[in-house]
Each structure stands twice: as structure tokens, then as C-alpha cells.
Symmetry: C2
Subunit: 676 residues, 2 copies
């Protein structure tokens, strides 16, 4: 189609109307090697829509797009200049380009009249039909959304001209960024293209699509049955807290106040006093614990809720890891004795470690937080800590807190002394513990790869996809029907055996296209069935994580498939565990501390337990050139190392061992690392 | 203990401190018959706490408490006057009184110094110890809470001097209000004393305690598996909506705008623009449906979320029925064809009816809403409608909406035409459907009685309680152990058989006390086991709803108990169904319309389908003296009748039948009623 034809197809009209809506066509050129053929980005948008280049970059995953010069218009679209350019010239392109269409434009009525330039008008439906010719390159973009900013440091590094992280053989539909080279960009793509999550038009909030919510449901089911066996009951407390109640525990509110979202209006009326949205529910619940707990026979009281909380973080939000609203469970229990309470803290921590290790195939280290890092207002905090190999950073997995009697004294949660009413009342011992959807982000970061998501079978929404193969032009209709029917029969048998399976029998796509699709989405195994397999009464099974192939006899389907899924689950865990184990190093000399951090390790060091020393370690490890000659690692952050936890499993402390940083005697090993 | 002793016990001191906290002791007298012995209400509160009499009334469930005159101080406490009165005089009381202690006072440090009058000071711990002597009469009250107001009409009626609704034989711990005489007061007590729900310090919000949340979990499980079988997937969308998106569909937002809660601040910063909390998620979700649905192969898209939404109602809130935050599920589906969409609307409505009839034992009538009552912005709304016998009012149960293409056109949710890209794009057909925790309120209103909650076994948190009986002073320790062990063995067998059972083996309470407790809480059956039962290898089973007794042989436990539970479930449904069926009457003459409403009926009448006529019916039925001589029924509201639904199951329309109200021809029967 030449440009003249295109113009005629466009049904352009010189008769506009006064309320025609202005539309602009812009061309961006991403940063590419001089020798490479450029892949320009055409943006078709309402005149009134601003189309910032960072959003263009985000939509295409291309680096530094800039408005193109006339040379590019001439060489690529055979159009004299940017000024003359219109969508008609798209027909002249001889190699691929990106086409971004403004969602606001797409949202217009089909009958709307658009103005392309001073003299050219077109009906929206016509423009849409025309752009439809470039459907495979087209993408609809919401320019109203906020740009997902990589954190500042990353941005500098990216700008510093590191090798492009773009994957050479990636198609637009797949992942176009290399996990090893641009981890944040990869993470964002893997989540959106894998259809786990979508960005939302309120910054810091994200949509959990079925693929990720189903993982959350698996976790809920597992954890819920564990805590119910401990006697925990579920309940639901309101999401709103009055400021009076929220601010009752001072240390606690200090920890949360800067992030509290306030409702001040309902309809068109101002509320008499602002009402907070819970950032966590201690102060929501404990006034009622005080009311309900009158006697030691009311103890223990163990409640849990599955809900969402809001922490209006002003730091750069990140899907799953740091979001302004997130889903979690929060357990709040009250006990007569401190022993009973402390035992539960550890029981729950084991369940949290179980969520990571048994369900998500993510290894964690259990331990206790330092005084500096513990929960605001509590006695002590236990935690399970994970590790992200690409960044070498630790990540807090989930925490289980013992609150002691601090809140019970503040909220007067007390019971009659079992010894009699002439003995003083007893304040209860309390715990609180929470696990959030952050776990899903950690899982994705650890297992997934450049082909897409890798999801452990125990939690994935679907465990297996059945795909007919070997259908060619020579295949007769009867043969095709037979293959489809056999594949469907396999799907049915798997479902009956309790395996979350589905089939893709769409003849419009090649098996290869389907393979890529389900690799992108992280379906743990695919099951291929072709004419030869039918002859041999077998299927071919391919694992998502490493493409390992198995031939499975049909009569062994119900036993072998669960075994293969289970092996896959174990292999994911073992691989991740090896990476964590080999990057958790014991360091006893401060001179080795920073170099080891820079080698993407977390560090176990003898430590004195003093808060000032902890702060000193963080400050001292923030500089990269600590007198050492360091391997240059541009991707490693220059942030200092925080204490991650004091692991329960301790290396043996040598007699007279000094603290890694100061001259005080060491009292334990502490795990330090850069962290999320 | 005489008053002198009491004074000495009080350890009063004349040495105060400047920061001593003022404490007041007030006495209220509730409205009682002149002949009756008054049961005064003593309120001990911080000087700074206001103690409004409606809160005193609410806490004690007593009518119209007024500050007592000196006569009562003299006769009851042997104290000269209100002015001289202090807590020391409580020791003089010879008959029961209520003692309400301010939660603010209880929350003070044990060491706080209190000032009782000009010259008397006491340490808080001392006062608490003293008040502990009256523990059985004592109650801690949060005077900061809002009074749960009965609706205005009820209040007038109550004030008009109807017979007191107080139950004569009710103990303080049980329900003290008669369901038949003071339905709103009864409803409030049954929920709070049955421990289903508690009032919360943010008005219109309530706490769902485990007993009600467990019912919600049963409903979730049942409904979730039904919709998943239809191909619905769960997801989670953010609770926040930008005003731009919220206001995109005009009819829709008009319906919700007055009730939207707005977040305008985070921490101490004002947000750039206010962000709404979702009142429902159509506008939250559909921009993303537009993004995700590109081809007809992406259809149908069926998503559901279990979440909470906020509608800041300014009408009188009511637990479960009208609350500012509530839990629900909202399903949102997009279909290629209108037939597919409409079929789903009905499938979902059947599930909703199933939740009511099969799980909650509540009969409903399925039908379609009139144009006036349908969902704002949708094409049509289907509904299941319940009936509350005590008030004779209908109640909307749950609704399933067909949205047509209205939202899809507004949000541009469209697909390529399967006929080819030269055919116009197709806008999808959408549905939305929701069921909320309101269902629990309806269930409670229908089945429960003056002894407490009655909960259908299929949804109740616990289905059976095992209680040892027949233990007397003569029982030896060995016998007692044997009874306990046998009871525990029964509990274990029941649990193993999948029955949600527990046992109460606490020797400090009598079986009778326990019976009342578990009747209050609505445990469907209690299983009694005493020495004679052990001899005969049997247990006695008593049904909560009607005290019917069964003797069950131990060897039939696992078969008979589930049968008894199932019969109980059916009997609850049949009883409720009979009440609904006998109060759903066909009326064909307008003159019989209002009298039938006043007899607590809902009405099926031939109707023209015209909106003005519907409004006329409402206005005309609002007056009670419609030219008819009506049975005086003080409890029936004077509100007009709304259309509840056009039932799917229609009486046959006679030829030439006129509308019940106007002269137009009737086109169908419509169900009218006063309603919630």
C-alpha cells in the first residue's frame, strides 16, 4: 500500500466541523546503536493529551526516546518533515515500528470527527479502521498514568550508558529486557506481560490479576488451616480508625503517622473530624479486646483477619514489595502467660517460613530483629528473611511480634487474677503477626527468567497446559479431530486427578506461539500430544523452568504428572537455596565486609548488639570505595548494610571474639545486608 | 458490709495531689412501674466524661433512665442526697443495681490518684479493688461511643408508652428485650450479646466477630466454588479511585456520589487531588477491561473480588443491613453476546437464592426490579427479595445486573468484529452482581428468638456443643473423670465425622448456665451426657430452635447427629417459608392494599409498569387512614410501599385486568411492600 492509497483509504475530508477534536501524530526515536536500523515509535494522541517521553519509553521498553528529526521522517516514512507527517505515511514504512495510540482517543465515540491538520478531517471509526492495518505493532497507552520510575540511582546508572538490556531475540509480545542487565525493568515487564499485575491510575496501587490472586488464595488456604488448628479464629474489624484511638500508643503511632491516609469528606460534606484508614489494626482492635476479655477464662483470645491496609509511602512504590494498599493477614492474640505468647510467636514464624519454603520454593533465614529494626511498640520481632540474587539484597519476608504487656497496659486489656480479686489484675501478653502479598513479588524475582514467569506448581493458578502438536497442512480433518479429542481426554483425566490443568486447542495459533505464551505466563509444565504420541500412547512433558523433557506413558499419567510437578517444585527450591547459601558468607574482619557486600552477598558477622554500632555499620558500608580496590559493579546499590536479623541458627562464637565493627565483645552473629 | 466499713476499705485519703483526676458517681433511675422495686443504675465516670442517658439506656437495656431524686438515694442507698453520695454507699444497697464504669476511668494507670469529692482522694487501684466487690453487677462502658439510635418513628412509639418490652425472666446476661415488642432493641441485643458483632467507635461501622465471620466464610466457600465452575476468576482491584475515573459514567455516579468517602490527606500532606474510596468497582475495573480485551478470543472475561466497599450513608445505620463499610463480593463479567450475558445474570441469581435458601434457610422471591429501582447505569436488575415477619417489611437480598453495552461504550470495552476488521468493532455486553454481609442480618432477624441467636447448622461456626451433666456433690472424682472423658470422646468422634463440635467441661459453671450461654449464641444442638446416659450408652440431644429432645445411641452418633442437624436446617427453612408464603397476598382492589400492608403483608398486585404509578402507590400507601378502618398496629411503620420486584413466578393475569392503582391495563403482577 503506497501513501497515495493510504490517503484515499483514510477518507479524509476537508469539511470539518467546529467541534472536531484535534489529533496529533508524533514520532520518537529511541536510543540505538548508530549501525542499527531504528525502530521508531509513532504516537497518535489527542491534541490535548501530553505524551511525555518517559511514558513512551515505559510503554515500549525502549531507551530514551526523543522526538525524531526530519532525517528519520525522510528515510523511514518518505515524508519531508515532522510538520508534514500524518498517519497516512505509516503506509510507507518498510520495516517495523511501534504504534502507540492514546487511550483517550480510543475512548471517543466512533462517530466523533477528528482533525488531523488544518485541512484534514476524519471520522474516528475510519481512523481506527486504518490503524487496524498495523494491529500487530499497535498498543493502546494510557498517557494519564504515572510513569513507573526506576529508583534514582538506577536511573543514573542507566543514563551512564551501560550496555542496553534489551533482549536481542525478544519479540514485542515477550519479555524485552534482560533480568541480568536491567532487573527493575525486567521485573516490571515480567509482571505485566505475564498478566500477574497491572499498573493502576492511582500511583502506588496495583491490580492483582487472577494469576497472582490465585497464588494468594493458595497461600490463604494453607496458612488459614494452620492457624485455625492453633485455635485462631477469623474476624473483620473496620478499616477506619478515629484519630483519638489511632494515637493512643505513642511509639506505635510515631512509626506509622507519616504514612496514614485520612478521610475528611463524605459526599459533599466535611467530616467533623478526619478518620484514618488503618495502616495496621493494633489500635483498632485492642479497645475491644479490653472489653471482651474480662476473665482468664476468656484467654487466650486469638483473632486473625484477611484484609487490606493502607500505608501512603512517599518512597518509590514497587509492585508487591512496596505498595500503598496491600493485602495481608494480621493476627492479634492475647495470652495469660508470657510463655504461651512467646511459643505462639515462634509457631507462626514457622508457618511463615513454610509459606516461603514449602509453597513458594523460596529459602529464608529465621531470626530476631535488632532493637533498631523491631516493630514500633512491641517487645521483640521475629522475622524470616529472603535474598534476591540479582541485586544481592536481603528482603524481609514476614514478621511475628511479641508485644509483651505494652499495648495491654495502654488499652487496659486485663483479667482478674486467678489467685483472687485481692491480687492485682493481670495485664495480658500480646502478639501480632502479618504476612502480605509481598511474598508474591519475592517469588517472582527469584524464580522467573528472560522467557517470563516461573511459578512453583504448588501455588500456580494452573499447573499444566495441554497443547496438540504435529498438525500440518496434510493432516486430515479426522486426524485433527482425533488429536484434539485425545488432548481433551488428557486434560480431563488430569483435572479428575486434582491437577489444575487446561488445554489450548485453538487452531489459529501455532504450537510454537502457544509455547511462548505459556512460558511467559509461567505454567509449570506443558504437555504436548501429536500423532506419533498417540500411536505410542504417550505424551511429551516439558518443564517450564529448564525445558527438561519427559516422555510419559498415558497409563502412568495420573502418577507421573504429580511426581514431575513435585520434582519441579523441589528443584526450584534447591536452586534458590544454593544461591542463598553461597551468598551468605561469614565475615569476621571489617575489611572484608564491604567487598563481600559488593559481591552481592549478605553477611554473617560477630556483633556487639549495640544500636550505635549498627548505625555505624550502615554508614560505613554505604561508601563504595572503602580503601579497597573493588570489583566495579555498576548495578549494585551504594546503600549501606542494615541488620537483617540475628539468625536463630548461629555459627559458634569464638572465645574473646570482638564485634566486626567496634572494639566491644561480640555477643552473637548478626546477618547484615543491603536490603529492600 | 456497712457503709462505715466500706469507707474504711476505700482507704480514702484527705491528702490529694494537684493532678488528681476528678471522678463522679451518678445514679439513674429507669422508667418502671410504680409498684416495682427500682433497679437503679450507678455510673462511675471521670469528671470529664459526659454520660448521656441514652448511652446509659443502651448499656443496660433499660427504658428512659433519669437522674435519681434524693428519695431514691435515701431508700435505696441510705444516703441523704445525691450531693452526699459516693461509691462507699454502694455497700448499703439491699437489692440489685447496675454499675456502669467509664472505660476512660478503667484505662487510667493503676497508680493514678482520683478525687471523689472535695476532700476524698483514692488511688485508682484501690477504687478498682472496691468496685470489684460488685463485679456481677458491673459493666464497663465506652461513653465515647455513639448511641445506637432506634429510628425516629420507633422512638416516638416507644415514648408513646407502649407496654415495656423488657423480658420478665431475662437475666442481665441474656436477652432482656422481647422480639415481638421491641424488634430493633432485640436485634441489637441479640447481635452483641450473642457475640456476632460489636459496635465500633466510628459510627456506622461494626466489628464482625468470629461467630458472624465464620458464617461469611461458609458462604464464601459455597459461592466461590459455584462461580469458579462457571469460569469466574478472583482478582483484587485497588480500593481507591481517582475522581476523573469515578465520574466517567454519569447516571452511575449520580447514584453513588452523595455517599462517597474522600481521602484528601496522607500523613501531614494534602493530596494533590482527592481520591475516592470505591463504593462499588465498575469504574475502577472497566478501564482495564478496555485494555485487556482486544479480541473476541479474550471473551468472556469473568472476574470477581471479595472485598469491602464504603458508602457513607447519612441515614440511620443498622448492623449488617446498612453500614458504612461492608464486606461483599462483586462480580464483573464481559461477554461477546447479549444472550450469554443474560444467561449468566440468571445463573448468578440462582446462586444468590441458593445462599439464602440452602445455606441460611431464608426463603426468597426471585424477580426483576422495576425501572425505578434498577441499578444506576445498567440495563436491568434481577433480585431476590426476602421478608421480615416481625415488621412485615420486604428486604432486598442480593442483586444481579445486566449492564448491556452502556458501560462498554463509555469505557470503550470493545473487540474486533469476528467478521473482519472492515466490520464495526463490537462493544461487549457486561454484567455485575453482588452479595454482601447483609445476608447475615436477614438470617438473624428471621430465625432468632428471645433466648438468643438461632443459626442454621450449615453455616454456623459450631454445630454442636457437648456438655457433661448430672455431676452432683455426691459424684466421686473417678466418676467425674469418667463423665468428662466420655464427653470428650464424643466430641472427638463428632469432629472426626466432620461435625463442627466442641465441649464445655468447665466445672465452675452449672449445666443450666451453660445451656443458656449456648442458646444465647445459637449453637444448633447441645449434646448432654450424664452418668445414666453412660450406663445406657446414649446421649441426649436438644435442638436450639424448639428444644426438641432426641435420645441417640452412642453407636449411631456419626449417622444420627448429621441427620438431626439436617432436619433442623430444613425445619428452619419451612417455618420461615410458611411465614413468607402466608404473608405474600394477592390484592386486586386498591381498597385492600393498605389494610394488607398494615397486616404485615407484602402484596402481589396487577400493575401497569408505569413509573409515575409506582410513585403514586408509594405516596398513597404512606398514609395510614386511607378511608378504611384499620386495625391499630403501633409497630407498623407508616412508610409507603415500594415495588420490591416483578416476580419471575407470576399469577395468571386475567384478561382486561386493570392496574391496581390507575386506569391503565395491567401488564404483570408486581410485588409491593414496605421495605428496608
Amino acid at each position: 500500500m503506497c501513501v497515495e492509497e493510504a490517503f484515499s483509504k483514510l477518507c479524509l475530508s476537508e469539511k470539518g466541523s467546529d467541534d472536531a477534536i484535534g489529533v496529533k501524530s508524533l514520532v520518537f526515536k529511541p536510543k540505538t546503536a548508530k549501525s542499527a536500523v531504528p525502530v521508531p515509535i509513532v504516537v497518535v494522541a489527542l491534541q490535548s493529551t501530553t505524551t511525555p517521553s518517559p511514558l513512551v519509553a515505559q510503554a515500549t521498553s525502549l531507551k530514551d526516546p526523543r522526538l525524531a528529526r526530519d532525517e528519520l521522517f525522510q528515510s523511514f516514512f518518505k515524508c519531508n518533515s515532522a510538520k508534514e507527517f500524518s498517519v497516512a505515511y505509516l503506509a510507507n514504512a518498510e520495516s517495523p515500528f511501534h504504534l502507540l495510540v492514546d487511550r483517550q482517543l480510543e475512548a471517543l465515540d466512533e462517530s466523533a470527527m477528528l482533525q488531523l491538520n488544518e485541512a484534514a478531517f476524519i471520522q474516528k471509526s475510519e481512523l481506527v479502521a486504518y490503524l487496524g492495518k498495523f494491529e500487530s505493532q499497535k498498543q493502546c497507552v494510557d498517557f494519564g498514568q504515572e510513569v513507573a520510575k526506576p529508583d534514582a540511582k538506577k536511573k543514573q546508572e542507566a543514563a551512564a550508558g551501560a550496555a542496553s538490556a534489551a533482549l536481542e531475540d525478544a519479540k514485542l509480545i515477550g519479555i524485552t529486557v534482560d533480568k541480568a542487565l536491567d532487573f527493575p525493568g525486567w521485573y516490571q515487564q515480567i509482571l505485566t506481560k505475564g498478566e500477574m499485575l497491572d499498573y493502576y491510575d492511582v500511583s502506588g496501587c496495583y491490580i492483582l490479576r487472577p494469576a497472582s490472586y490465585a497464588i494468594w488464595e493458595q497461600i490463604q488456604q494453607w496458612f488459614d488451616s494452620k492457624i485455625k488448628a492453633l485455635g485462631v479464629q477469623n474476624a473483620y474489624f473496620p478499616m477506619f480508625v478515629s484519630s483519638r484511638v489511632l494515637e493512643r500508643e505513642k511509639d506505635h503511632i510515631e512509626g506509622f503517622a507519616p504514612e496514614v491516609a485520612w478521610v475528611t469528606k463524605a459526599g459533599s460534606s466535611d467530616l467533623e473530624e478526619p478518620i484514618a484508614i488503618r495502616p495496621t489494626s493494633e489500635t483498632v482492635m485492642y479497645p475491644y479486646y479490653a472489653k471482651w476479655i474480662r476473665s482468664y477464662r476468656d484467654l487466650p483470645l486469638k483473632l486473625n483477619q484477611w484484609n487490606s491496609v493502607v500505608r501512603w509511602e512517599f518512597k518509590h512504590p514497587q509492585p508487591f514489595l512496596r505498595t500503598r494498599e496491600f493485602l495481608w493477614q494480621e493476627g492479634h492474640t492475647a495470652h495469660l502467660t508470657v510463655e504461651d505468647a512467646k511459643q505462639e510467636v515462634l509457631d507462626i514464624l514457622d508457618f511463615y517460613a513454610g509459606v516461603y519454603e514449602e509453597l513458594l520454593a523460596v529459602p529464608v533465614v529465621k531470626g530476631k530483629k535488632t532493637e533498631k529494626e523491631k516493630f514500633a511498640g512491641g517487645d521483640f520481632t521475629t522475622t524470616c528473611e529472603g535474598y534476591i540474587p540479582q541485586t544481592g539484597r536481603g528482603i524481609q519476608g514476614a514478621t511475628s511480634h511479641h508485644l509483651g504487656q505494652n499495648f495491654s497496659k495502654m488499652f487496659n486489656v486485663s483479667v482478674e487474677n486467678p489467685l483472687g480479686s485481692d491480687h492485682p489484675k493481670l495485664f495480658v501478653y500480646q502478639n501480632s503477626w502479618g504476612l502480605s502479598t509481598r511474598v508474591i513479588g519475592v517469588m517472582v524475582m527469584i524464580h522467573s527468567d528472560n522467557k517470563g514467569l516461573v511459578i512453583p506448581p504448588r501455588v500456580s493458578q494452573y499447573q499444566a497446559v495441554v497443547i496438540p502438536v504435529g498438525i500440518t497442512k496434510k493432516t486430515t480433518d479426522a486426524e485433527r479431530s482425533n488429536i484434539h479429542a485425545s488432548a481433551k481426554a488428557i486434560e480431563d483425566r488430569l483435572k479428575k486427578a486434582g491437577i489444575r490443568a487446561f488445554g489450548d486447542y485453538n487452531d489459529n495459533y501455532t504450537p510454537g506461539w502457544k509455547f511462548s505464551q505459556y512460558e511467559l505466563k509461567g505454567i509449570p509444565i506443558r504437555i504436548e500430544l501429536g500423532p506419533k504420541d498417540i500411536e505410542k500412547s504417550q505424551v511429551i512433558v516439558v518443564r517450564r523452568n529448564d525445558s527438561r523433557k519427559y516422555t510419559v506413558q498415558l497409563n502412568e499419567l495420573e502418577t507421573r504428572i504429580p511426581e514431575i510437578l513435585e520434582e519441579l517444585q523441589q528443584d526450584l527450591f534447591l536452586k534458590a537455596k544454593e544461591l542463598f547459601d553461597t551468598h551468605r558468607v561469614i565475615v569476621e574482619d571489617w575489611k572484608d565486609f564491604v567487598p563481600n557486600l559488593n559481591r552481592k552477598n549478605v553477611i554473617l558477622s560477630p556483633w556487639c548488639g549495640v544500636m550505635e554500632c549498627e548505625e555505624d555499620i550502615k554508614d560505613s558500608s554505604a561508601k563504595k570505595d572503602d580503601g579497597e580496590e573493588l570489583e566495579q559493579d555498576e548495578k549494585s546499590p551504594s546503600m549501606g548494610a542494615k541488620s537483617l536479623c540475628i539468625p536463630f541458627e548461629q555459627p559458634e562464637l569464638k572465645q574473646g571474639q570482638k564485634c566486626i565493627k567496634c572494639s566491644r565483645p561480640a555477643i552473637q552473629y548478626c546477618m547484615f545486608g543491603r536490603s529492600y
